[in-house]
C-alpha cells in the first residue's frame, strides 16, 4: 500500500516537474527560435545561450504583487489560472513516454486527455469573466467558441484511429504501430487511405486547441490587448503561460502517439523514450516555426475552417475508414 502511494507521489511530482521544466524551457526555446527566425539573437545574456533566462523570469513573476482589479470576481479570478494549469498536468499522467515510462496506463487514456483538455476552455472563460474587463470577456468568448469547434474534428479523427487500432489505451496504440515507419498511422494503408490528411487535420486542430498562432484569437494582442489574461500579472499570468506550454507538449505527445508511432524508431531500431522526445520536440519546433511565420486568422475564418472544411473531411474520413475496415 505504502509503495503504491509512494509510486503515485513520484509519478505526480515527475509529471509536474516535467510540465514545469518544459514550460520554462519551451519559453526559452520559443524566444531563441523566434530570434533565429527574425534574425536577432533572442535572450542571450543570462547564462550560456541565455539558459538562465527561465529561472530569472520565474523569480520575477513570483516576486511581483498579485493585483486583483477592482470589481473583479475574486474567487473566479484566483481559480482560473490554477484551472488552466492543473488539467494540463493531469493529462501527463496517462501519456506513455516509452513502454516502461508511464505514470498510469489507463484503458481510456485518450478519453481522459480530451476530458481534461476541455477544462482548459473553462479556465479561459472564468478568467475572462472574473477579471471584469471587456477585452478579457471578448477574448474568452472567442477562445471558448474556438475550443468547442475544434474539439469536434479532433475527436472524430481520434475515433478513426481508435477504430483502426481497436483500443483507447495510448500504450497499446503505440504498440500497434511498432516495427518501423510503414506501420505508423500517418502512412496510408488499404483500410485508411486518408491518414496523411487526418494527420494534417489533427495538427491544425492541435494548434487551435492550444490557442497557438495562427489561431491565437484568445490573446490577439493587436485587437484585445492581451486577451483573456489582460488583467493578470505575477504568477497568475505565469500559470496561464505554463498551462499553455504544457498543453503544447500534450498536443505534440498526442500527435506522436496517435500518428507517429510513439517511442518507435522510424527504422524499427532501438525503440525508447529518446525517439518519443525527439518527435515531440520536432513537432513543438514546427509549432514555434508556424507561430513566427503566419499572421493571425479572423474569428469567422477560424470557425468557417472548422465547421465547413475540417469537420466534413474528418467525418468523410471516418465513414471511409469504417467502410474499408469492414472490407479488408
Amino acid at each position: 500500500m505504502s509503495l503504491t502511494i509512494l509510486n503515485a507521489v513520484i509519478a505526480v511530482v515527475a509529471a509536474i516537474a516535467f510540465a514545469a521544466i518544459n514550460a520554462a524551457y519551451l519559453v526559452w526555446a520559443e524566444r531563441r527560435g523566434a530570434g533565429r527566425i527574425q534574425r536577432r539573437p533572442g535572450p542571450n545574456v543570462n547564462g550560456p545561450f541565455g539558459l538562465l533566462q527561465p529561472p530569472c523570469d520565474g523569480i520575477k513573476l513570483m516576486a511581483k504583487q498579485l493585483m486583483i482589479p477592482g470589481g473583479a470576481d475574486k474567487a473566479l479570478f484566483m481559480v482560473a489560472p490554477v484551472l488552466a494549469m492543473a488539467p494540463a498536468i493531469m493529462s501527463f499522467v496517462t501519456i506513455p513516454f516509452s513502454d516502461t515510462i508511464v505514470a498510469h496506463s489507463m484503458n481510456i487514456g485518450v478519453l481522459m486527455i480530451f476530458a481534461f483538455a476541455s477544462m482548459g476552455a473553462m479556465a479561459i472563460l472564468l478568467a475572462g469573466w472574473g477579471s471584469r474587463s471587456k477585452y478579457a470577456v471578448m477574448a474568452s468568448v472567442r477562445a471558448v467558441s474556438q475550443n468547442i469547434s475544434y474539439e469536434i474534428p479532433m475527436l472524430i479523427t481520434v475515433i478513426t484511429i481508435v477504430m483502426m487500432t481497436g483500443t483507447m489505451n495510448l500504450a497499446e496504440m503505440v504498440a500497434s504501430q511498432t516495427g518501423g515507419i510503414w506501420h505508423w498511422n500517418i502512412v496510408p494503408s488499404l483500410s485508411s487511405p486518408l491518414m496523411p490528411v487526418s494527420f494534417l487535420l489533427f495538427f491544425i486542430c492541435a494548434l487551435a486547441e492550444t490557442n497557438r498562432a495562427p489561431f491565437d484569437l484568445g490573446e490577439a494582442e493587436s485587437e484585445l490587448v492581451a486577451g483573456f489574461h489582460t488583467e493578470y500579472g505575477s504568477m497568475g499570468f505565469g500559470l496561464f503561460f505554463m498551462g499553455e506550454y504544457a498543453n503544447i507538449v500534450i498536443g505534440a505527445s498526442l500527435i506522436t502517439i496517435l500518428f507517429l508511432g510513439g517511442w518507435g524508431c522510424p527504422l524499427g531500431l532501438y525503440p525508447g523514450v529518446w525517439w518519443f522526445l525527439l518527435k515531440i520536440y520536432l513537432l513543438i519546433f514546427s509549432f514555434i516555426w508556424i507561430r513566427w511565420t503566419f499572421p493571425r486568422t479572423t474569428i469567422y475564418g477560424l470557425l468557417n475552417l472548422s465547421w465547413k472544411i475540417l469537420i466534413p473531411i474528418s467525418l468523410f474520413n471516418l465513414l471511409l475508414t469504417a467502410g474499408l475496415l469492414k472490407v479488408f
Binding site: R40, E221, S222, V225
Partner: protein, 372 residues
Amino acid sequence: MSGPIHIRPDETFTLNVGPQHPATHGVLRVKMEMDGEYIVKAETVLGYIHRMHELMGENRTYPQVLPNLSRLDYLGALGYTHGHVLVIERAAGIEVPERAEYIRAITVELNRIASHLFWFGAFVMDLGGFTPLMYAIQDREHILDLLEAVTGSRLTYCYYRFGGLYNDVDDDFIAATKAVIPMLRKSLKKYDALVTGNIIFMKRLEGIGPISAEMCRKYGATGPVARGAGIDFDVRKNEPYSVYPEFDFDVPVYHECDSLARYKVRMDEMEQSLRIIEQGIEKLPDGPIMPKKKPKLIKPPKGDYYQAVETARGSFGIRIVSDGTKNAYRFKLRSPTYSNMSLFDEACEGMMIMDALAMMGSLDLVIPEIDR
C-alpha cells in the same frame, strides 16, 4: 457589484480602444460602440498629443519653425520639411540650385521607402505576424544609415534649408545608395513571396475594409488610401514640384478599394521610389548646394502661399499667410493622416473589430501627424 444584472439582447457596450492600445500605434483613442464583435458606431477622439505646431509656426521666425516640421511625422519627416522649404522659397523668391533639388528628391524618396517599410512591418504585426517587422526594420536600417550620413540625424531630420541643403552628399553616399537599391529590390521580392501570397493574409485583407473613391473625396483622403480606391492622384504627377517632372515613374493605382489594394499600392510605391532614386543619382548635376544670393532674413512679401507635396502618407499641404514680417501671420498644415483617419468612423461601421483594426493599419496612421 451587487444585485442581478439584466442584460437585454440588443444591448451594446462601449469599448475604449486606446489611448493606450497596441493597435493604435500611439495615443489615439477610438470609442467603439460594440454589439459583441461588431462595431455599431465608432468615434475617434483626438488631441492626446497635440503640440500646437501651427501656433508655434506663427510665433517663431521661419527658420525657427523648420525643425518643427520634422516632428509631425516621425517616419517620413523629410517630406514635410520639403513642403516647408518649397513654400518659403516660392514666397521669398529664392532660387534653388539644381543639385540641391536632386538631392532633396533622392533623400525624400529614401525616406518614403523607409516609412513604407516600417508601415509594412507594423501592418503585418497588426494582423498578428510579428516576424516581417524585424525584416523590414533591418532593411530600413540601411536607409537610416544612409540618411544619417548626410543629414546627421536618423529620424527627425532638419536637412533642407531655404534655398538648398545643410550638407552636400559625397561619393560614399552615392556609392552606398547604389549598393542599397538592388538589395532593397531583392528584399521587396522576398516580402512579396513571404507575405503577399500567404492565404491567411489574403483572406484577412481581400474585400475587407472597403473605402470607396466617393468616401475618399468626401473626407479628403489622399495618398495610398485614395490610390487604393482607384483615384489616380499623386501630387508629384498632378501638381509637379521640385524636379519630379524630370523623373520617369508610375503612380500605382488599384481599384479594389479594400485593405489589400492599399497594401499593394504601398508595396508598388517602394519600387517606384527606387526608380526615382536611380534616375536621380544618374542625373545628379554638379554645382553648389546653396544659392549665391540669399536674403539674410527671410521675410516673404505680403501674400497667401500654399504648397502641396506628396509625403509617404498622402498629400501634405502647407499654407502660409505672410504679413511681410519675419513671422508668419497664419501657419496652416493640412496633414494627410488627419483626413485619412477621419473616414475611419464611417468606414468601420458594421465591421468586426479585427477587420476594422486591420483596416486602421492599412491607413498607415502616425498619430503625432494627426494631432500636430
